[in-house]
Structures are given as C-alpha cells and as structure tokens.
C-alpha cells in the first residue's frame, strides 16, 4: 500500500478524495438528516460555529448541510452527463474507425467543427434554446463532450485496426460488431477510463458555471454553483457562503483530475517500464 502511495501519489490522493466524496454523498444526508432548503430568516449569515460548521447563508440555511446534499447533485451531474457523452461518443468513434473513409472523414469533420466552439459557449447556446434547468444543462455539457470521446475512441480503434489479433479475428469470420465491442472496446478501455475521469472534473466545473449563471440548477436546489452565486451578493459582508461551495468545487475537481492523472500513469505501460 505504501509502495503504491509512493509510486502513484496523485492516484492515491484522487482515489481518497473521490472515495470520501462517494461515501459522504451516499450516506451523509442519511446520517445528518435535515432539510437543505429549510430557511430561518431570523438567523441569516451566521458565521461558522459548532451548530453550523460552515455558517448559514442569506436565507439562514445551513451551508454544511447544503454542501453534503449538493455532493449528491454533483454525483448525479457527473453520472448523467458523462454517461450521455461517453454513451454516444464512444460507439460513434468505434463506428467511425471501421467505416468507409468518406464517412470517417465526415464524422471527424463534424467532430472538429464541434471542437471549434468553446465548450461553455456551446453549452450556453444549448441551454438558452432548451430553457434553464439542471437536466438541460447536463445535456448541454454532454453535447460538447461527445466529440472528445468520439475522437479518442476513433483514434485508438483506428490504431488497432491492423493489429495481428484483429486480422486473425477477421480471418476467423468474427462479425464486425463482435470485433468492435468485444475485442477493440476492451483494448481501448484504459485510456477511455482516464478520459472519463478527467472529463468528470470538467463536468463538475461546467455544471457549477451554468448554475452560477442561473442556467443550471434552479432554487432551492443545493447545487454548489448556485450556492456560490447566492453567496457573491453578500461577499463584502460574509465570506463563508461563497468560500465553502468554492472549496467543495475545487476539491471535487482536484480529486477527479488527480484520479485521472494517476490512472493514466498507472495504466501506461511505458511509465510502468521506466
């Protein structure tokens, strides 16, 4: 264990933070209880104390309780958005790699066009068309993440296309679907997993940004971006409504990025040899 920690400190830090988040998100609300939307207007902007470890916000709501419930929302954001993006992007990339060259070029061209738009701007455009709301925001984030998975899956698959074992499978008469999903997908899984982990950090940041702008989660959802947005209006008088949600976002992104980087290092054969 200590050897692993020494060799892959980023992986350990990431795994620790993500594991802690998973546990807190899963059992935190059950253990702590309480209603994250319950207001107490007679006790607004109370500084951190034993009763309210992170203080109260402008509506007298307990910030710590809202952060814990917000963790669940963040997990939901990561799962929904990543599942949508990877679920569409990876099969599309696999298909593109095995498709005729004209179709491959067309798919990659479209993917490059999507890349040309800054992700958040594209998300803003989509949300303004669909209307504000957390689910719409997640779909928008997924939409700008799809080309990332498409290109990655396509390039990795393309490189494997002429591998000896793939040619052997083709000679043996294996179907294209079987080759793609049974053999190729398994072999590109490691880099895709790394990308999913790194992409999850982007999802957290993007969802918080959209919610901060009022386009994602709507009140009274305890979404971290919304909490920061509420907190900025009282920033000169009370720092804690902004600080703690900001720290939570930072820790979540650091955890996911460390996990992604650590996984990449751990799964990279070359770094293993060196």
């Amino acid at each position: 264990m200590i050897r692993i920690m020494r060799r892959h400190p980023a992986l350990c830090l990431g795994a620790m933070l993500c594991g802690l988040a998973l546990v807190l998100g899963a059992i935190g609300p059950v253990v702590i209880g309480g209603d994250p939307s319950a207001q107490d207007l007679y006790h607004v902007l109370q500084p951190p104390s034993w009763t309210h470890p992170c203080g109260t916000d402008a509506f007298g709501r307990d910030i710590f309780l809202r952060l814990i419930y917000g963790l669940r929302l963040t997990m939901y954001e990561v799962v929904v958005s990543t599942a949508c993006a990877a679920g569409i992007g990876i099969p599309l990339g696999l298909f593109s790699a095995m498709a005729p060259s004209w179709l491959d070029r067309a798919i990659m061209g479209l993917s490059d066009m999507a890349f040309a738009f800054p992700g958040l701007v594209l998300a803003l455009l989509i949300v303004s068309l669909l209307g504000p709301g957390l689910f719409h925001a997640l779909l928008a984030i997924a939409a700008f993440s799809i080309p990332i998975y498409t290109r990655l899956a396509r390039n990795l698959t393309h490189a494997l296309r002429h591998a000896t074992y793939i040619e052997a499978l083709q000679v043996l008469g294996a179907s294209r679907a079987r080759i793609l999903f049974r053999h190729m997908l398994r072999n590109i899984a490691a880099p895709v997993l790394v990308q999913i982990t790194l992409g999850a950090g982007t999802v957290v940041l993007s969802a918080a940004s959209l919610s901060f702008l009022g386009l994602g989660a709507q009140p009274p959802m305890p979404e971290w971006g919304t909490m920061m947005s509420d907190g900025r209006n009282v920033l000169g008088a009370a720092f804690w409504p902004c600080l703690f949600p900001g720290l939570a976002i930072a820790l979540a992104v650091i955890g996911l990025n460390c996990l992604g980087d650590g996984l990449r290092e751990a799964l990279d054969a070359r770094s293993e040899q060196s």
Partner: protein, 512 residues
Amino acid sequence: MRRSVFLCCITAGFAMKSAAAACAAGLTVMLAEPPRSMDPADQNATATHSILAPFYESLVQQDETGSIRPGLATRWSGSVDGRVWRFTLRPHVLFHDGAPCDPEAVAASLKRLIDPKAGLAGAGVFRGLIMDVAEDGQDVVITLARPYADILHLLAMTQAAVVSPIAARGGTLGRHADGTGPFRFGDWQDGDHVRALRFDRYWGAAPSLDWINWTWSPEPSVVNMALQTGDANVVMPISPVFADLYTPGRPASAEAVVYRAPGSALFWAALNTRLPPLNDPRVRRALSLSIDRRALVAGLLHGNGQPACFAITPETPGARGCGAAAGADIDQARTLLEQAGWHKGFSITAVVQEPEEPIAEALQAMWRSIGVRLVIRRQEAGVWVQSAFAPPDEKKRSETGVIISSWSAPFVADLQIRPLYAAASAAPAGANLGFYDNPIVDAEIEAAAGTLDPIGRAALYGTIQTRLADDAPMLPLYVQDDLFGVRRDIEGVTSLPDGEIVVTQAHRRPVR
C-alpha cells in the same frame, strides 16, 4: 535652445492641465440599473429619475419631506372646484439648446405628454386626467377632466418634466436629454456611463460640481466595493446587507456614511388574477396569509424596512399598518385553500429579475408549507419587462402566475394605488400586472382622488386598502428603507420620497 523652449512649453501645458483637473470638481454616482431613456416622459424607473433629475425641471418640485416647492413656476393657484390650475412661469429660463422656456414651450411639453399618439411610457396617470393645457401671457393654465387632490405632486414627477420643444420635434430626446436643469447632457455610453456637465446659463444658483458621472451595476457587492474604494462617491441603493458595515466604529465607516430615509419602494408579488387557481380570491388570500412578512424584513432587509400588508406605504397619509398580520397564519391559509378545493396544493411560476430572486426564494419556502410549489424563472431585465407586461393571453400561455417587483412613488396614495390596481392600468398599458379588475375599487379610486377634503380622502383610502387586502390581487411584502452611501468628503446629497437621489447641490467638504 529651441528644444529647451519646446520642452518648457510642453511642461507648462501639462501643469496647467493638471491644475485645471484638480480644480474641476466632479461626482461619480453608482446606481443599480442603467437609464431606460433620456426622455423623462418615456420611462417609469426610479434609477432613471435620479439620472434625469439634473437635466430637467417641472413646474413644481418636491423636497425631501414631500412638500411642494416652486420649480419652473414661481406661483400657482387652483379653482374652487379643483379643476383649473394656473401656473405663473419663471422668466428668463433657457433650455440647454438655447431655446426659451416660455409658456408655449411648457404647454407643448405637457401636450406631448398626454398625446396618445406619442405613446409615452410614463404618460399613464396624466392621460385622461389633464384635459387641456393653454398659455395665457406668462401663465400656463391646466384644465383637468376631474378634480384631483394630488395634482401638484403629480406635476412634480419626473415624467411631467418640461422638455425642449426643439428636441421633442427632432425626436432626439430618447438618447439626448434636453431640459432646463442645472446640468446639460454630456454623453451616454451604453453599458458604461451617462455624463452630465454643468449648464452655465442656468437660471438659478450655479452648482459647485462641474460634472456628474452616472454609472451602474446590478451586483450589490460591486456597488459596495465602489463606495469603499472611492470608485463612486455616492451609491444608491446600498444593499441592506452592507449597511451595517458603515456603522460608527467599523473600518468602512472611516470611508463613507450610509444615510437612511423612510422607504418609498413597496415590494410586492402580483398574482395573475386570470390564471387558475389564482383567479380565486380565497387562494390569493391563502398565499398572503402564509407569508411571514416580519421574517422577510429580518432576513432579507436585515431590519432596514417595515412589513407591508396593505397597498399604501406606511409613511403615506391614510396608510394602514400591519399589526399582528405581519406574521404568517398557516392554519387559516390551509383552511382557505381547502375551501377553494386546492388542499392538495398546486404549482405556480414566478418571473423575477435577479435583485428580486431572494424574495422569490423566501416565498418559495413559505408557500411550500401550504403545499404550493413555486417555480422561479429568473430573467434578464429586458426579457423580464416583456414577461411582466405581457397581455393576459401571453401570460396564460407562459403560465406566468406571479410577478415579483417593487413600485416607488411619492407619499401620495393615488400614485401608489391607481397604477397597480385600476383596471385601466392593466398590462401591457400599465403596471396592473395581474389584470385586477374590480369596478367598485375603480370607482373608489376615482372618488378618493377627487376628494379634496383630507379626512374624507383618508377614509376612502382606508376602505380601498381593506378591499384590496381581501381581494389580494397583489401581495404587499415590505417597504425597504432608502439606503444610500456617500463618501465622507461629499456633502449635500439627499433623497426624495420616491427613492430618487438628488446630487445637484452636492459639493466637496472643505479640507480643514
């Protein structure tokens, strides 16, 4: 040698310029929102009133106590029946474009205001009341369609300010102010500033300021920082959450002072009376009863205001106080919902601008206790105006049930009630955003406005307030104190009862 002379000239030039800049006294004022127009008759926003005040003057003006003082008119008199008013104009007054402000110009300005073809946004109260405007020697004679007790307060409003006939004919007023005020229009850069420059041919005492720079930010924390850092000399309004920072003894109090004036802005939630279930008065009353107004004042205003349960602000003659009704009565609210057949609750949508979103969130939590789910739709200013002032069909289509906003008016009951409750003021033409239509209330509004006896008028307004509280087409929430911050080196800043800030007489405090 020649080079030395040249350098000396350059240096002297810079020195003179610096000296001139040091002598030039200016003021930067930060507001919460940009101006809607430079045409005083084509807007209804308090922030715009503040910006337009240095450019324009009306026949009469009101001071910070709400008393009427001479403006462009030096004296005035009304007929016994209160229908004909004669104003004697001040001589030798010039518009900024050089045109004389004579009775003809004043009459043209008022006629333009009431002209339906002009379609001016601020004309609502005046149209239908002012029947005729005529000039008679140095006098202007205004004939009203019916007696109106508060006509002088009405004429003191920014909307009734006198505009240059040349600018009005040229159609340039929307972007370029042209009045008789102590400051003339400098420039207006969208999203950045409006600049006013001292008008040297002003008829009255010359202001000590050379210029006023108006800026704005919707972010309360930005406004607060601007005051603390000196980026703005005056800010209006300063958010109640920051007011405590300036109490004596705290570090920020060394930089600036926060002044407090009785509130003119009544915050309310207008209910769409054409949209089920809000078309049932019992449902509307239930929503009203479930609001803890005392908690709203404590939490959202940090105590800088008063709960409001009736349609008239507390400082206005004839206003009724909340008393015990300031708290919530959840049991009674539930009973009313049960009687109306909505005991299982329902869902409604509110449209708000960002500054009013906290009110919506607080109401969301309070209404949840009686099973009402409030969906909050936050909108940008332009979109919100379209949603809030949409006609009934459009509001029904978009399922807009609640509009949260505020109304600032002088401490004159008619100006607080008529624009929000009279059937003739229904959106999109006016600010009756919930389309409340009650012929009895309309008749009582007319009767009260035309009653010249103050006691009789107060009694009528008492009846109207009770009736409106029973019908609950709008839910008054609270009246926020007018809070404005002024840097310690500035003096002479005041505020008017309608929430407008007056900086024309501001000056730098002499250095001791």
